[in-house]
Structures are given as C-alpha cells and as structure tokens.
C-alpha cells in the first residue's frame, strides 16, 4: 500500500465529525468502491450512497419496450451495449425478444454498429444510444459517419442523458457528491463550480484508482466537516476545467438538449439529448414512425428510490428474493455497475 493510500485511509477511518452522506454518481465508482471494500472502511458517521450514475439503471422501462418494438415489429437488428440486453421492459427484456426471434447484437462501440450496417445493406440496424456525456460523443460520431457515408440502414434510438440538471434534482439527497471523473473529462468543471457557487452544492471530482478514490473521499470528509460549500478537482491528471472541446463540439453538431425521463426520478427538464433536425433520418423513432410507447415498471421494484439514495437496495422487498442478478426485476440489479447488483454480489 503506498503512502498516499495510507494517509487517505487514515483520514477516512479516523473521521469523527458531523454525520455525512456522500453520493457517488458514476457506475464505475459504484463498482470500484465495492470491489476495493471502501464502504467497509467508512466510519460510523459517514456513509457512501449510490446515485443515478449507471446508464443502464437510469434508462426507463419504456425505452426497452421501444427497442423490443423495433426488433420484433420492424425486424431491425438492435445493436446495444451488452448490459442493456437483460434489463426488463414492461413485458420482456431484449433477451426475451431475442428468444422470440428478434435480432439483438451486443457491440462494444456505436461505430461497430455502423460497420455491421455497412456490411449488410439489406438489413436495418438500430443502435441503442444510452449513457452520459462519456458515451454520447461516440454515438454522435456514429450518426455523423453514417450521414457522411450516406447509409440508409442505420439509426439511433436515443436515451442519452446529461448530468447538470440531474444534480439539481438531487439537491438534498446527499451532503456532497463524488462527481464522475469520466463525465467531467468531457464536460469540464463549469457545472460543478456553478452548483457550488449558486446552489451551495458540494462535491469533488474523483478518478478511478484506489489512490484517487480514497483521496477524493478523504478530501470530501475534511471539507464537508467545515460546513461551507466546496468544489475540488481531485482528478486533475485527466479532468481540465474546460473539458474536451472536440467531444463537446461533436455533441453540439449532432444533438440538442431535450427533456428526458430517468428511471425513478421521472422527467427532468433539459436533462437529455436528442438528434438535431439535420439528423432526423437517423432518428429511429421518426424513421420507423414509432407510436408513443409508455413503459410500466414492476411496482414491487424500488430502483427509483435506490437511485435517489432514499433507500438501500436491501430495503427493497424483492431484493435478493425475486430480484437477483440471474433474474433481475429492476435495472439496478442487471449491470455490474448497478447499486443493487454490487450490493448483492459483495455482501
């Protein structure tokens, strides 16, 4: 164990200040915090809770229903990040649709889906564009590539999300946020600084190694105990105040902000991204004249409360009983980055 890790660990384990709730809002942080056993190090009066940071977890039920509709009714090949395949829709998951004969293809990058479309001109390929500012630029690049190459058989089903307004919706859920380093690497720190100065919301940007995570938590405990709002960038080797201008530009070229539904949080104004009019031909909803599809989540599932830090996964009645990683009822139990899944696997 290196000296930095040891020093940060000492600060954390010896914290005796006022009671604090620290919310991490990044699926990779959720996973790493559990993997490293950081929650087991926390002192009695400081708690880490998981917020809506896993892209799969915040994607609403209706989006899965839309994807199943495209696959089953329109015979599209649905290309998606693997985790989404097992997320339950109202009646079925994409895995269920696949068992009924739908074509569902896991991909690692949106450009892989473009490549698949190019190699099969007779098929229709739809990429499920979910995720935050970290994955949205690559979805935009896929749309732009398809446009430049004149592809007629590729489109996006968008559910992209942006963090700024989600933070505002979460004010009061926690005493401080651990901001997602990968998102801030794209967007920069402007929003977080504004949240601190205008709304009194505290937080630190954290990286992903043991050293970076522990340092960010130690800094949070030290500053939060003083009671003044604060912002610190604890991931300066990657996150710059101005972010990544090239990634921001491509998002602005291809997409525009829109209202967006978050699982558990409902519709948050201007917290999503949709394709601009110039890219309408790559918008699967428009291209296939999709009817309005409203999803109905399983009423027993408390993923929504989990995502807002209102309850622990183990407070949900179906957790570990009807809902397990093998048979998930809610989205948070599906992805390895989901709070319920991590809680189930590491406890």
């Amino acid at each position: 164990m290196n000296e930095n890790v040891k020093a940060a660990k000492d600060i954390i384990t010896n914290y005796r200040g006022r009671p604090l709730r620290i919310m991490e809002v990044c699926g990779t942080h959720t996973h790493e915090i559990f993997r490293l056993g950081i929650r087991n190090l926390m002192p009695k009066n400081a708690e880490i809770i998981s917020g809506p940071g896993c892209p799969v977890c915040v994607t609403p039920v209706g989006f899965i229903d839309e994807a199943c509709w495209l696959a089953l009714e329109k015979d599209c090949t649905v290309c998606t990040f693997g985790d989404l395949i097992r997320v339950p829709g109202t009646e079925k998951s994409l895995a269920g649709a696949r068992a009924e004969g739908a074509k569902v293809r896991p991909v690692y990058s949106p450009l892989d889906a473009v490549e698949l479309a190019k190699n099969d001109p007779d098929g229709q390929y739809v990429f499920l564009a979910v995720g935050f500012e970290t994955t949205t630029p690559s979805a935009c690049l896929a749309a732009e590539t398809a446009k430049n190459e004149g592809l007629k058989n590729f489109s996006l089903l968008t559910a992209n999300k942006t963090m700024p307004n989600a933070y505002k919706a979460l004010v009061g859920s926690a005493d401080a946020f651990i901001y997602p380093g990968h998102v801030n690497a794209i967007t920069g720190n402007k929003t977080c600084i504004e949240l601190c100065e205008k709304y009194g919301v505290s937080g630190v940007v954290a990286g992903f190694t043991a050293n970076e995570l522990l340092t960010a938590i130690a800094v949070t405990l030290t500053l939060a105990d003083k009671g003044e709002p604060f912002f610190r960038n604890c991931y300066p080797r990657v996150v710059k105040d101005e972010g990544n201008p090239a990634a921001i530009r491509i998002m602005e070229r291809v997409m525009q902000p829109c209202d967006s539904e978050w699982r558990g949080l409902g519709v948050i104004p201007m917290s999503g991204m949709e394709l601009r009019e110039e890219f309408a031909e790559f918008d699967a909803r428009k291209k296939f004249d999709m009817p309005k599809i409203e999803g109905k989540p399983n009423p027993a599932c408390r993923c929504g409360d989990v995502l807002q830090g209102k309850c622990k996964p183990s407070d949900c009645k179906v957790f570990g009983k009807g809902c397990t990683p093998q048979h998930p009822i809610g989205a948070c139990m599906v992805s390895g980055e989901g709070a319920c899944s991590a809680y189930y696997q590491y406890n």
Partner: protein
C-alpha cells in the same frame, strides 16, 4: 477441391474414411496399442484408475498458443493429473464439418501428437464423423482418458482444511482472454497467448516433493474464482485471498480493465489450484518454480473456518470484501 477438404465421403466408412485415418490420424497417433479393430486392447496394472471424458468446441479452433487439438489433449490429461493419476491411454472422437481444410486437420492432429507425447499418454482409438455444412461449426473433438492414480495421491475438492494455503501455478485468465481477443468482437488488440499446457509433469513434481496435498484442481471454464467457490462449498470452509498476490499478466489486466472483467473468472487451460498444509508450502513452491509451466507459482490465499462457503478478498487498500460469484455465461465456447 475435395482433395484439400474433408467431404461427407470421408465420414461414410468406406475407402476415403480409411484414407483419412491412414494419412492424418494414424500418421500422427501411431503406437503399438493404436487399434485397427473395434476396440483397443490394453494391459493394465491393478490399482486405482482415473477415468474421464471431455468435449471441445472452442471457437476459433486455433488461437495464440495452441489449437483445439492441443486443448483436447491438455484438458483430459489435466483432469487425470488433478486426481494424481499418470495419464496412460486416451481415445478421441472427431466431428468435422464438410469442407474443413485437410491441412488444418493435419495441424490439429500434429498438435495432439506432440502434446500427448509430452504428457506420456498414448492415443489408442478414435472415431471420425463428418457432418454436413452448417451442421457443426468446423471441428469438435471429444477425448476420453484413463490413468493410474499414484498410491500416495489422495486429492479431492472435499479435503481443503482451515490452515491450508492456496497456491496457483501461474498467472490467471490467459486462455479466456486469448479467446476473447481472437473473436475480435471488441476491437481490442493485446499481446496475450493461451496458457494451454499438459500438466502431468507439474503434478508429478509436486508429489515428488510431498505426499501431503489436499486438493488439486485445474481452473478451466469459470477460471480460478469458480474453482475456489466450488472448493469452499465442497469442503465447507472459507477462503481468504490477497488481491496483490494473485499473478495476472499485464495484457490480461489491461483487457479486463477495459471490459470490466475479473481475471479470476477468465478460463485457464494450464493452471492448477492447489490446497495443502502451510508446512508443505515451501516444498511445493520450490518444486513448482523449477517446472516449465509453473515458474510463476504463488501463494494467493488461505483457508479459514470463518465465512464458510465464501471467498473473501483482502483488497489492495487493506479492506476486505467478498469476491463476487460469477453470474451467467461470461463467454460461450471457450474450450
């Protein structure tokens, strides 16, 4: 064309079948016991025998560090070796897709010959079936093996005891990672090759150092992590691992980091997991470190009488957490 590929006629039992057996299999597997009759006739000493069978459907059939032929010998040899059995005889059954290139079949047979020779096992009987195009994916092999268990060997997944050390014979997860990269589904390139190897020599060298070995298992599908959970349950003990002691190749580490995979759950095809009393650890390790396939052997953990049935990880920051159990199929057709 038909001269260079396997055809349905090769599997029909007539002249062409004989030719295929003669030119490909007999040429590579020839030994005094290799039968031309319906069954091989073997002279066996009395004693305890280990008898096992395994099917191989790996895709792709050739990969960095080996091919399905080498794998099909290693898999069965290693299953016997884990019981402390010296592999004696094997049979192999091929199911080949029509149109499969003969030169590739030859390469597979050559790899089997070389690996069997290294393990000291004789291939004494076989079977060849040809399936129509699309009815099987290229080539599937089933091997069966019989071996004689050394008198001093008495190993089982049920025999782990509190106080035992847990040893792995080298870095973990290389085979699974190699296959994953060979499928080229993720657009990642890394310099990783399969650990696929026959391990009878490794086992024999340990038993030369000590008789006191409780468990030997080869960590194939599901990797070391799955094996540890099985043993924790079978022996009703807890297992505590030290994250920093687990050997992982840098390439494998990088791929796992990108894809969010746990190297302990990636398949190995040339790694043993060994449980033995702490008093024997040094003898076993020094024997292993002299071996061709076990130079990076390491103690990665200990058996406890707490947390029965569970595998606990001491993390790199000195905290403790459970090693999550694997869920679902990580990657199909790995071996």
């Amino acid at each position: 064309m038909s001269n260079n590929t396997v055809t349905l006629a090769h599997g029909a039992g007539g002249k062409q079948t004989s030719e295929l057996i003669e030119k490909v299999f007999k040429a590579h597997f020839s030994n005094p016991e290799f039968t031309a009759d319906d069954a091989a006739v073997l002279n066996m000493e009395a004693g305890r025998l280990a008898f096992t069978t395994d099917g191989f459907i790996v895709s792709p059939f050739e990969f960095n560090g080996g091919n399905i032929g080498k794998l099909s010998i290693c898999g069965t040899v290693n299953d016997m070796a884990c019981m402390g059995a010296k592999p004696l005889y094997m049979t192999c059954a091929f199911v080949i897709e029509e149109g499969f290139p003969l030169d590739k079949l030859e390469e597979i047979a050559a790899a089997m010959e070389k690996t069997a020779k290294e393990a000291g096992v004789k291939i004494v009987a076989g079977d060849t079936k040809v399936a129509g195009k699309g009815q099987v994916d290229k080539v599937f092999i089933t091997t069966t093996g019989i071996g004689r268990i050394m008198d001093k060997a008495n190993t089982s997944g049920k025999f782990a005891k509190p106080g035992d050390v847990v040893i792995v014979t080298g870095d973990v997860g290389r085979h699974g990672c190699t296959i994953l990269l060979a499928r080229d589904e993720f657009g990642i390139e890394a310099d990783v090759d399969s650990d696929c190897a026959p391990l009878w020599g490794t086992v024999e060298s340990m038993f030369e150092a000590t008789d006191n070995i409780h468990v030997i298992r080869d960590a194939t599908r599901g990797g070391v992590g799955t094996v540890l959970y099985e043993i924790a349950e079978q022996s009703n003990v807890g297992i505590t691992l030290e994250r920093e002691k687990i050997p992982v190749d840098d390439g494998v580490k990088g791929v796992c980091g990108m894809l969010g995979l746990e190297p302990l759950y990636l398949a190995c095809e040339g790694r043993l997991v060994i449980f033995a009393p702490e008093s024997e650890a040094d003898k076993i390790l020094s024997a292993l470190k002299k071996g061709k396939y076990s130079q990076n052997a390491a103690i990665i953990g200990r058996v406890t009488d707490e947390d029965k049935g569970k595998v606990v990880m001491e993390t790199e920051i000195g905290s403790k957490t459970l090693l999550p159990q694997p869920s679902g199929e990580l990657l199909p057709r790995i071996c």
